[in-house]
């Protein structure tokens, strides 16, 4: 589904982040991206979302070259990206409005499914961080995406809320057959959600370091999950000078 074909990218007057970087991802897969701050994780997500364009090479989704935001790609950002002047309901239906679609029933369905129906008429600043994140997820899913990009979506939440939303992400990914790409700082989160884990260390990135994690963990104390965490921790302790 996603083909990253020999892309290079750097911001104006910034260092090179990707050089001749290639990657392939199948439909319905979930991939976590982990790495230190400033390594280009979020930029990679923006490239996939069509918000920035590679300086060389190309990204294709379902065979189509990405040249701007794609209709069936949804993006959820670190601080949720909710508009403070729109209520929860108005935020959820924003994408539909922009596309000129009336989607009252779809909107109501996702508000109910994500348990935010009761706060539908509240503004984002009036609800909890978990509810805000659920609103951002509802806003993304109401557009019936096939690719969900998430940039550290749970980083500002408390542990129980974070875990319940991680569970929800895995559940939705399976139910909706979504391709999920999640950027995270947390090793456990990467191992829990990502069936493949892309490790980004020191830029510029040339060859992807991919850790395969095919088994869906049965819980957070699943031995397989802990083993992947240990492996990731070991790899991330490798000095930054490692030439990959």
């Amino acid at each position: 589904m996603i083909e990253v074909d020999a892309i290079s990218f750097s911001y104006a007057r910034g260092p090179s982040l990707f050089e001749d970087f290639s990657l392939h991802l199948e439909r319905g897969e979930s991939m976590a991206i982990i790495g230190p701050s400033g390594c280009g994780k979020t930029t990679f997500l923006y490239l996939l979302a069509g918000l920035v364009r590679p300086t060389r090479g190309e990204i294709r989704i379902d065979g189509k070259r990405i040249e701007g935001p794609r209709e069936r790609t949804a993006l959820i950002l670190q601080e949720f990206g909710l508009l403070p002047w729109r209520t929860v309901r108005q935020n959820v239906e924003l994408g539909l409005r922009i596309r000129g679609v009336r989607g009252d029933s779809a909107c109501a369905l996702w508000l109910r499914r994500l348990g935010i129906e009761e706060v539908a008429e509240s503004y984002p600043q009036q609800i909890s961080g978990g509810q805000r994140q659920r609103t951002a997820i509802a806003r993304a899913l109401v557009l019936r995406p096939d690719l969900l990009l998430m940039d550290e979506p749970f980083s500002s939440l408390d542990a129980p809320t974070r875990e319940s939303l991680q569970d929800l992400t895995v559940e939705l990914q399976r139910e909706e057959g979504l391709t999920v790409i999640l950027v995270t700082h947390t090793i456990e989160e990467a191992a829990f959600i990502g069936r493949r884990i892309l490790l980004l260390l020191r830029p510029p990135h040339r060859k992807p370091i991919m850790i395969e994690n095919p088994k869906i963990p049965e819980g957070r104390s699943d031995e397989g999950l802990l083993e992947v965490c240990r492996k990731l921790r070991g790899l991330m302790e490798v000095p930054w000078s490692l030439d990959v």
Binding site: Y46, A49, L51, P69, E71, T73, A74, L75, I76, L77, Q78, E79, F80, G81, L82, L83, P84, W85, R86, L94, G95, R97, I98, R99, S122, Y123, Q125, Q126, I127, S128, R139, L143
Partner: protein, 250 residues
């Protein structure tokens, strides 16, 4: 809100009380007591004073409306379109700090002494105030907010309607609120020149030609009420147009 209203009422009564005491202490016709002024105000408003107040209200309201309709969209566009901002901002930078009152004689020379010149003068002051606040507010929007809406497929016009316009509305209201005092001061100055109607003219005429001090104070009261009314209307409209600003945090 209830407490705020009570505080405003308390402040108003305190000012009236201080005025009353001062008028007793001074005991001269140049400072009549507030009740006497109020009596003259009520008597003269339906006829003479009301006509002058209506003329002033028309001028200042038209200026505000024109300034909002032109400066707000332009300010937002400057904040939204980098190239346009780079082109026009140097002009704004040069013109913004110039006190606009100095343009009064120039405007009169070019446009005469009619209503248009008066409206134009107040418009110029409000225009820059609203323009700069709207532009700065649009420029300070968090980039991730814009990116998140862009990722939903938003084009420039969607960003204008759903992001930039609502984000800058509070700044536009602040601009109006900040400019009302100056606008009315300029209205007073503008109405001193060859006009037959307007509170500025009325106050000047009753105070320096007719020496009818209670009537002059009634004119000043009307001008104060005009400013207060516009300020109150701005607050009222902001609460209606920007309800999220007044929502209680969770």
């Amino acid at each position: 809100m209830e407490l705020r209203r009570l505080n405003v009422l308390f402040a108003l009564l305190s000012i009236l009380f201080a005025w009353h005491i001062l008028s007793i202490l001074i005991s001269k016709p140049i400072l009549p007591p507030p009740l006497r002024v109020l009596e003259v105000f009520v008597r003269s408003f339906p006829s003479e004073l009301g006509r002058h107040a209506a003329a002033s209200l028309k001028r200042v309201a038209l200026s505000i409306l024109l300034a909002i309709c032109s400066a707000a969209p332009l300010g937002i566009l400057l904040g939204q379109i980098g190239s346009l901002n780079r082109l026009l901002s140097p002009f704004v930078y040069v013109l913004y700090p110039v006190p606009k009152v100095v343009f009064v004689p120039i405007v009169i020379l070019f446009f005469g002494i009619g209503d248009f010149a008066k409206i134009l003068m107040i418009f110029i002051i409000l225009f820059f105030q609203i323009l700069v606040l709207a532009r700065d507010s649009a420029l300070s929007l968090r980039p991730e907010l814009i990116l998140s809406v862009k990722s939903l497929g938003a084009k420039k016009r969607h960003l204008f309607v759903y992001v930039f316009l609502p984000a800058t509305l509070p700044a536009i209201f602040t601009g109006i609120r900040q400019s009302i005092g100056t606008a009315i001061a300029v209205l007073y100055v503008a109405e001193l020149f060859a006009t037959r109607y307007g509170l500025g003219y009325f106050i000047y005429l009753t105070g320096t030609t007719l020496f009818d001090y209670p009537l002059m104070y009634a004119g000043i009261l009307a001008m104060g009420l005009l400013g207060f009314g516009l300020y109150f209307l701005t607050d009222f409209l902001e609460a209606r147009v920007c309800p999220w600003r007044f929502s209680q945090h969770g």
